[in-house]
Structures are given as C-alpha cells and as structure tokens.
C-alpha cells in the first residue's frame, strides 16, 4: 500500500474546532451553579471541566458553540453570548 490507511489515536486534539463557532459562545457565569455536572454530560466535545460549584468552564479552543450546555443548565448559569462580548473572566 502506498498510502497508509490507519492513524494513531488522539488525533481529535490536533483539530482545534473552536474556529467552527459562529456568532455565539457559551459564557459560564459561575454565580448560581449547583455543580450538577449536566454541562459536562451533554458537551459533545467533552471539553467542559470543573468540580466545585461556580468553577465550571469550557475550552474555547475546541468549543463549537452548539449551546447544549446553556440549554441544559437548570440554573440558567450558562449564557450564549455574541462572540464580540468581552469575557468576564
């Protein structure tokens, strides 16, 4: 075979999919968070991290801005904001 048809694992890390985001990104307000971890569970990229209340954040290098975390948050503590919005953190 002239062309290799397999790849080493972990290559998703090499693709910084944050550039796919259009218009909005999630803002983790870190005010009313109850640490239910639903945002970690629903994130299709597996890039939400955090442990204690009001400590949760996402990795904008990979976040595609799908908005699932904001939609699922029972405390409305994650907001989808326009990309131009200055980060509070």
């Amino acid at each position: 075979m002239r062309i290799k048809l397999t790849a080493e694992p972990g290559s998703a890390r090499n693709n910084k999919t944050g550039s796919w985001r259009v218009e909005r990104r999630p803002q983790f307000l870190q005010k009313n968070c109850s640490a239910c971890r639903m945002c970690i569970l629903v994130c299709p990229e597996g890039i939400v991290s955090g442990k204690e209340k009001n400590s949760f954040k996402t990795d904008y290098l990979y976040c595609k801005g799908c908005g699932l975390c904001a939609a699922v948050c029972p405390k409305k503590d994650i907001e989808m904001v326009p990309e131009e919005t200055e980060s509070k953190k």
């Binding site: 075979m1 002239r2 062309i3 048809l5 397999t6 790849a7 080493e8 694992p9 290559s11």
Partner: protein, 385 residues
C-alpha cells in the same frame, strides 16, 4: 483423499483446512449448506473457530470486517439478496484493504423472487474492489477457496476475494473432489500476520475519513492493487501446482481455441456444457472453441486479447445483464477490443433465473454468431405464454 461431495461441502472443507479464527454468516438459499457444514465442524470441535450468529448479512459482513481488522483469518458466504444486503460493507472491506474471503453461491436477484442460478448477484458487485473468481466445478471451488486466502493475505495484495460458484449446479451437485491434506495446505498458506491490526494495547483508528485531497489517490491505490493481482495469481497457481500437483484456477482458460473460427467467452459452470458442445461440434468438423474467464476482477484484458487474437467471431454468453445496456462480460470484452477492427463480437444473454442452458442453447449461439452482430440478444426468449 477423494470424496463424492457437493460444491457447498467442497467450500466448507476448504475453509476448514485454512483454519479461520472467525466465521460469521446468515443463512440464505442456495448458500446455506456451506455455513451449515462449517457450523457443524465448529460444534464438533473439528474446527477451532468462533462462529458468530447474526441477525442479517449486513451484520455478518460487519463481524468479519471487525475480526479481520483485529488480525484473525475470517470467512463469510452469501447469495443473491443476502449479498446485496452486505453490499455497503462489501465496499468498505475493499476500501479498508481487508483480506476477507467470501463464497458467493450465485443466484438471481429479486424481483420477481427467484432462488435459481445466474450471475446477477456477484456481477452487481464487480465494481467493489474485490477480486472475483468463478469456479467451473466443485474441485475448482475448493481449490479457489484455498488460493483465495493466499492471494488476499499476500502483503503485496491485501484485497478481499470473492469465490463465486453457481447455485445448485455446483452448490448442490455432487462430484468427486480431491481434498488436500492438512499439512500441504499449511505448506501453501502461511499464517495470517497483518502488519497493522486492532489492538487495545496499541490503539489505532481504521476506516477514516478522507477528503477530496486524499480520496482520489486512495481509490487509485486500491485500483492498482486489484490490477496487480493479475501478476500474483499466476504465481500462486504455479505454487499450488507444485504443492498439490494439479493445475487449478488462474486467470483464463483457453479450450480448443487453436484454429477456431468461432469462440464463446463465458464464466462459471456453464463452461462445462460449452466444452462438451465444443467437443461434439469439433467432431462434426466445426472449428469452435471456448475462452473461460476464471478471474473476472481484475479483468485479464491482455490475456483475453492474446487468446482471441486469431478468432474472427466471438460470442459472449452472459448470465447477467446491466439492465438497459448489455451483459457485463460483453461490455468489458468489447472495450478491450476497441480500435482492433476485423472481428465480430456479439453479446448473448441466457440462463437468467435458472433457465437451463443446454447443448442446444450453445449450438443456437454458435448459429446466431454466424448471422448479424448483436450486443444483447436474449436466447430462448418465449414470445407468448
């Protein structure tokens, strides 16, 4: 050891001798006896192998794809609707360069539903990147199955191989078959040791996406690999002869083509009937012959051009049709001879859905070949019911 067995059992015994690690298949007429036989061998402990029961042919093909990727020798078999249901995976197996061996017991396609023999099922998958071999008799079905593993697993090839045998005519017909000894098969077929395999200790991704920047080259690679088996097959059949002492398989077989004025080109068990008819017509002084295609994919164009170079009239007997066009072998042959004038090449369709092809059918084709050139003339078509 010689035994009086049907083609299905010949294939099952060949597979058993090649010692696959995983077999998965779904029953379908007329293929069922092959995997029924293998299931019995596994149940009796004669074949140490994982036999995976599945709910469909699509799953059967997927199981063997996964198992071969994990480094196991595998086998599956199907017919007709089952093969067509597998087709999505069939293309993936070739694209991933997985050396799967599949026995296709040829049967017509629905609708109307019909369980009898023609070549429409495997012909529909001729563009899938598989090597396709067509057996004339039960002995060849056994021999081609053993050769198929050797070819598929050769590191220069790494392409899947489909061994095609005619439903009922071979699968359920009994013939004396010479079954090779286990140690000779071991001598002919080295253990399967792929360079890359699925391994939890050393994870890798298989079956990846390739965008427009890569796909064209990868398809060209596969095309080249399938074409290159034209060089490997004669090498493998020569080695087969050295170990087992018989000529079997190969690319094409010329039968009484020297000085022939008319020849039929065909594939599969119908070639036995054509050979008998050729012998009878030769006895009457008619200069006729046969070119039997054993390897249909890759298409052995050069050998066919050589074999038929001096034959002025050529008939192709297709037991399949690209509906709205011509028979598949006719189309390939006509393309091979393009730009080479002075030859009559006529295409005939016969035997669809198990309609008997008798010596009279063959004689009729030779008679029609003397008439006007045709491209897709049906033989034996009834005008009223």
């Amino acid at each position: 050891m010689k035994d009086f067995i049907e083609g299905s059992e010949a294939v099952a015994r060949a597979v058993c001798l090649c010692k696959p690690g995983v077999i998965s298949a779904y029953p379908i007429t007329p293929q069922t006896h092959i995997v029924e036989g293998l299931a019995q061998m596994v149940a009796d402990g004669r074949l140490k192998c994982q036999f995976v029961n599945v709910e469909s042919e699509h799953s059967a093909a997927s199981v063997v794809l996964g198992a071969v990727a994990a480094g196991e020798r595998v086998f599956t078999a199907s017919s007709s609707q089952g093969l067509i249901l597998m087709s999505e995976v069939i293309f993936n197996i070739a694209g991933m360069r997985m050396p799967v061996v599949l026995a296709c017991v040829n049967r017509s396609l629905s609708a109307p539903i019909n369980i009898w023999n023609d070549l429409q099922d495997s012909m529909a998958l001729r563009d899938s990147g598989w090597v396709q071999l067509y057996a004339e008799n039960n002995q060849e079905a056994l021999d081609l199955t053993i050769q198929a593993y050797r070819l598929a697993e050769d590191s220069r090839a790494l392409v899947p191989v489909m061994v095609c045998l005619d439903g009922y005519v071979l699968s359920h017909g009994l013939e004396v078959v010479d079954i090779p000894e286990e140690d000779k098969v071991a001598q002919f077929l080295p253990p399967f040791n792929p360079a890359e395999k699925l391994d939890t200790a050393n994870p890798k991704s298989f079956g990846l996406l390739a965008g427009p920047d890569y796909y064209l080259e990868i398809r060209h690679d596969l095309h080249q690999a399938v074409k290159d088996t034209l060089k490997l097959i004669p090498e493998i059949t020569a080695d087969f002869k050295r170990i087992f002492g018989r000529d079997s398989g190969g690319l094409v077989e010329s039968y009484r083509l020297e000085d022939a004025e008319m020849a039929i080109v065909s594939a599969g068990s119908v070639c036995g009937t054509i050979k008998d008819t050729v012998d009878n017509l030769r006895a009457e002084g008619k200069k006729v012959g046969l070119l039997r295609i054993i390897t249909y994919r890759p298409f052995p164009e050069e050998l066919i051009l050589q074999a038929l170079a001096k034959v002025p009239m050529v008939a192709i007997l297709d037991k399949a049709i690209s509906l709205g066009a011509t028979g598949p072998i006719y189309a390939d042959l006509k393309a091979a001879f393009q730009g080479k004038p002075g030859k009559k090449i006529s295409g005939y369709i016969a035997g669809l859905g198990g309609r008997d092809i008798t010596p009279d059918t063959i004689k009729e084709i030779f008679q029609q070949l003397a008439g006007p050139e045709v491209s897709n003339q049906f033989i034996g078509l009834k005008s009223s019911f």
